[in-house]
Point group: C2
Chain length 201, copies 2
DNA sequence: ATAATCTTTGACACTGGGTGCCGTTTTGCT
DNA sequence: AGCAAAACGGCACCCAGTGTCAAAGATTAT
């Protein structure tokens, strides 16, 4: 009966085509720049029609961020609290684990960074995605106390953490992603943990 | 000789038309939503051709943020250090002064907030603008010490401050902009000042 | 005031992202 | 093999944004 073992042909093709589109897009963006590469070229290179390409990715911008869903899911998993941890410790552990992932995917991260920096609208799009991460971190900070004041503080703290993480990541990528991101993250998060009131630490 | 007292007719017309475009845009966005309102409608309502409208605002999105330049200039002025202030005190003073401005412009702020929230790309655009504020705050944190480590810390702190300011502003606007924004800001900035390490304060 | 000059305007045409529609092909199942 | 559902691709269309250029407007000098 030759039943497909796990995934149907449909799902396999879907993944292949998504991958082909992303690959074609990154090649063209790197070659001639994001703005100059048209969706016609990208889809043709991936062996699909323009119309079909837009069924796989709702917009040209989405092509630049193919893994946001997976990254968010990973963050959510990492944010599951462990016994004996304070909320801040949970958040730090999750962030540093994510840092490790970024380091393993250095090449892709750098390529994406360069494309995003080249086009302001992409930067905006990226920041938008971070809102979901922000909400996840907010939930991590908000364990039991659900008063309005506690919720507010959790939200504000989550915003601060995301800001710090973004700035750290950018610092790392601007330097060519060669330094130790985990060490860098540990340093910047410690700064946040201890407060900004004093000038030197 | 009937010489124009201060501004030539040219400059006056420019300002009038910019204002007419913003007014028309806000009216239409509120009435039928940002996406549904076309630039044809906006420009016609403002008494201009579409082509000319695009000479006053480079994009439809820019119509939503007519005061970003002025806001940034104000922030930069406020961030001028005063004698005896620590960097954090300077930043806090500037932020709270800005909060006062937001409170005085409550109606416009709320209208803008609603439009921005309705369209993800606008949120991205707004976040983009904040990068300039972030750079200004970074400079305020970085007084004399220009070692790589100090610069990094200033950048990270600026990112955290912007994150906190944004979250505070959003909190205030979601609540209808009725509460005391200055008090709210003082509270959230204090949180940042003292650190996130402890659960309760 | 009037002419000369420089700027701004608006119509036209065009590019490119994104979408609704629909007939045709591919895929999954029996 | 045969049938239903899903995916594909082509077409026409909308709208944001831009280059071009002749006409209208503002500014300055005479």
């Amino acid at each position: 009966m030759e039943v497909p073992i796990e995934a149907g042909l449909r799902e396999k093709n879907t993944e292949e085509r998504r991958a082909a589109l992303v690959e074609a897009a990154y090649a063209l963006f790197a070659q001639k720049g994001y703005a100059a590469a048209t969706m016609d070229e990208v889809s043709t290179r991936a062996g699909l029609s323009r119309r079909t390409a837009f069924r796989y990715f709702a917009s040209k911008e989405d092509l630049v961020f193919p893994h946001r869903e997976a990254r968010l899911a990973l963050l959510n998993a990492l944010l599951a609290a462990r016994a004996g941890e304070t909320p801040f410790e949970t958040v730090r552990r999750a962030c540093l684990a994510l840092a490790r992932h970024y380091q393993e995917d250095r090449a892709n991260g750098l390529a994406q960074f360069r494309i995003v920096e080249s086009e302001p609208s992409l930067l905006g799009r990226e920041l938008q995605f971070d809102r979901h991460s922000e909400e996840a971190i907010e939930r991590a900070f908000l364990r039991t106390d659900i008063s309005a004041r506690a919720r507010r503080r959790a939200r504000v703290r989550a915003a601060a953490v995301i800001g710090v993480v973004r700035a750290t990541l950018r610092e790392w990528l601007e330097g060519g992603a060669t330094s130790d991101l985990v060490r860098l993250g540990r340093e910047t998060l410690a700064d946040l943990e201890h407060g900004f009131g004093d000038t030197s630490d």
